[in-house]
Symmetry: C2
Subunit: 474 residues, 2 copies
């Protein structure tokens, strides 16, 4: 994608004029300095300069704006907080950006129904804080919480570290309002937990990365607040032991397991020993590391975690462990896991794979991936960290920064994945970076159905063009 401000054709000029009329001065950015800030997200991909940045302030304005873009056949890139890692919010040549930043705010909290209704542009953290202030909790949590918006987390079906207990974003959305490409508003903002009255249309907008509609408002399912939980770090002989720990943990704690995060030795050694990104809370070399968080049942969760450790130790499933005795200690344990967000400078150019396979196959897949990478001179090191209970590993593979190396490594890893009935993206989404690899985890029949649905709902292809679908690439 070309970043230079190319000459706009007359149809584009006309479209921007019509859009400005609807949105008013505050509602549209047309200066190059403003537009540049909205061209890209956190994926590393550079978008082209958008023709304009649309900043509608209501569902009605979104509707009018999309109708105009349809009429002029101008592509529209919906944007929340631009924290995505797959280029889904990077603007291709000749498109406008539609930012939800002026549609922000909590509309209602219903204590009895345990719901929160918010505008799409509301930051995730603002929703979490409002829920907590009401004595409740919104369980979807990701590192980018301060900037990521509710609309963005819905459009990308955001995952994160709490998926084990409450799922990804999808099951936490009760009601949704979205605007279709032609400007029609599909609104269902009730609080019914159960609803079998025809197709569950919100499922189409959740996780489709803005290619089927623009999310404007949502009713979120809040959960009871967890007031007390305990956190421990376990060192284990290998990944197989971690799977056995997970099974034992499920028996003991059931749905009280809040996090079950896995770190492979390559990742552990890099952040704790090869760099100063984190301090090792456990000494010695081990084959696998687990961060386990459990919410309080009837008794003290710290005691429960200690008893759990004793049980696992007895069975030779764990070798060492440390229990957080204070909030500070808990933060220190989490910081090892969260250091993955800060490896860029030390690790250098790399591909951040977001692989999902069956939880039972994750260890074997990672072994196979290591074996494949060992044969590739382009692969200059790998780090593995992931959500163990979800079968999701973030595999970071360093290379020399060349497109050729990237291509070879991607082809090797995604080629391997093809045989594992897994997914090329468990939580980051396809965006523009992984569109070409989609065929490695979806069948031709699935891709044909996806294209059919896209064609039905957005026949002119104006919604987030070149995201998800390769063929509409400019």
């Amino acid at each position: 994608m070309d970043r230079t401000g190319i000459q706009q054709d007359s149809a584009q000029v006309e479209a921007v004029k019509d859009l400005a009329e609807v949105l008013g001065q505050k509602g549209i950015f047309t200066q190059e300095s403003d537009r540049e800030r909205y061209a890209s997200d956190q994926s590393g991909l550079s978008g082209a300069m958008p023709l304009a940045v649309l900043r509608p302030a209501s569902t009605e304005e979104v509707s009018r704006v999309l109708a105009i873009c349809s009429r002029h056949r101008i592509g529209v890139v919906p944007q929340g907080g631009r924290t995505g890692l797959s280029g889904g919010a990077c603007s291709p040549q000749g498109t406008v950006v539609l930012s939800t930043e002026r549609m922000s705010g909590i509309i209602e909290i219903d204590h009895e129904a345990m719901t929160l209704t918010a505008w799409a542009g509301t930051p995730l953290e603002a929703v979490q804080e409002a829920a907590r202030a009401a004595g409740l909790d919104y369980p979807v949590d990701i590192g980018a919480r301060g900037t990521a918006t509710i609309g963005g987390t819905i459009a990308t079906n955001a995952g994160g570290i709490r998926v084990l207990q409450h799922g990804m974003t999808r099951p936490n959305v009760l009601g949704l309002e979205a605007v279709l490409a032609d400007g029609s508003v599909v609104s269902r903002l009730g609080k019914t937990v159960k609803d079998n009255s025809g197709f569950d249309l919100k499922q189409l907008f959740i996780g489709s990365e803005g290619t089927l509609g623009v999310v404007t408002r949502a009713v979120l399912q809040l959960r009871r607040q967890v007031r007390h939980s305990a956190l421990a770090l376990f060192a284990l002989p290998d990944h197989a032991a971690a799977l056995a720990c997970l099974a034992a943990g499920r028996q003991r704690f059931g749905s009280r397991i809040r996090a079950f995060e896995g770190m492979w030795p390559d990742y552990w050694d890099f952040v704790c020993h090869e760099t100063s990104l984190a301090t090792a809370p456990i000494t010695g070399r081990h084959g696998f590391y687990l961060l386990v968080e459990v919410e309080a049942g009837a008794s003290q969760p710290e005691e429960e975690l200690e008893a759990f450790f004793a049980e696992l130790f007895e069975q030779d499933l764990v070798e060492d462990g440390v229990l957080a005795k204070s909030l500070t200690e808990a933060q220190a344990l989490w910081s090892v896991r969260e250091a993955v967000g800060e490896v860029d400078e030390d690790f250098g150019p790399h591909i951040n794979f977001d692989i999902g396979v069956s939880p039972s196959a994750l260890g074997h897949f990672c072994d196979a991936a290591d074996a494949v990478l060992a044969t590739l001179p382009e692969a200059a090191g790998a780090l593995k960290v992931g959500h163990l209970g979800d079968g999701n590993v973030h595999l970071l593979v360093a290379h020399d920064g060349s497109a050729a190396a990237e291509e070879r490594i991607e082809a090797a890893i995604y080629g391997l994945l093809r045989n594992w009935q897994g997914t090329v993206t468990a939580e980051h989404g396809v965006g523009r970076i992984k569109a070409r690899w989609l065929g490695h985890s979806r069948t031709p029949e699935e891709l044909a159905l996806m294209r059919g649905l896209k064609g039905q709902m957005d026949p002119l292809g104006i919604l987030n063009p070149s995201a998800l679908f390769l063929e509409s690439e400019d």
Copy 2:
């Protein structure tokens, strides 16, 4: 719908001949005595005699059968156990039935991934039993478990009494295989818990009542088995107290609440006093009754429920209570709630509404419904029983059995519901009985999108014609 065996036209005769060729002798019923058994479900609606009953034994046979039906433009009614309550499996004139009864059996259980893969025709109870034999649990549970099939529960997004803890069928399906109207097989039978690689196509088939595709196989998410739980029945002053109990219960037990079922006095008095359907476990008159089941945390759940009762009693939220001390006593408590399945004979002709509203609005909606019914001479009594935490009430309204009375009562109740942002069916589905009322809970824009999707995926309208969509009624 006409039940008489009308003369088949020559195209239909030709189609049945082609189908018989693919399916072989065991795979098709063409005798009238056989066909008659497949015409209707448990809704009370009578289907027309199907042209033939197709009994494919594999995904490939389903694919070939649908391709033939597409070519001959013959409507196909997919059938599982025919236990539906909305007429979704009743065959309209001139259609064939596609029964999944020969595609039955558990394909695989994966202990580490906690998944079970099964053919669509497998009875729900067989899945539950296989999961339990493996030390795990499949949490979707409905009264018709012995006959209802996994495919049917997926196509109708079955709910039931365990929704509070693990949701309806939708979140318990990990992978799905379905055949489209043209015979293409859309298969995704992996065990990835998280998957953001493009549209989540399985969501289209879950709950769309066989109008978008025929489910053939599924990967189900199993849960850890609950080995110990406690059950109590509480008598309360009113519905508002029940909501306060639910909030207090969530604080105390979190996700360990397994059931939170509500019974209004009209229902309680009818099954316990006016008939011999159940024996009242609590004496005296009360304003509301709650059945609360809690799974064991670290301590004894019986003691926890007793402490919970004491807390609520202190706040005047409950008036009386009884704790099940044995399995027999627990069954006796459940039998009051489950008597709703046996009221037909004593209660006479009635409409079984399956209303869903916001959980916070359920009490007020029921009061409003009572007030509306009191003004209708056609309404000869009402019983209310429901899933309190889900905002779902089964409102049974007796009448003289005439179509006119039915029409008046339905118009009044659904007319009321329109203002509550609720749903005309929370869990039973639309089928053929509620299709005409769909506009009372879905907007014109939603209905237009639903029709667009149906047109895209089944352009000839051969899949379950006249279910969900009024306009394809014969």
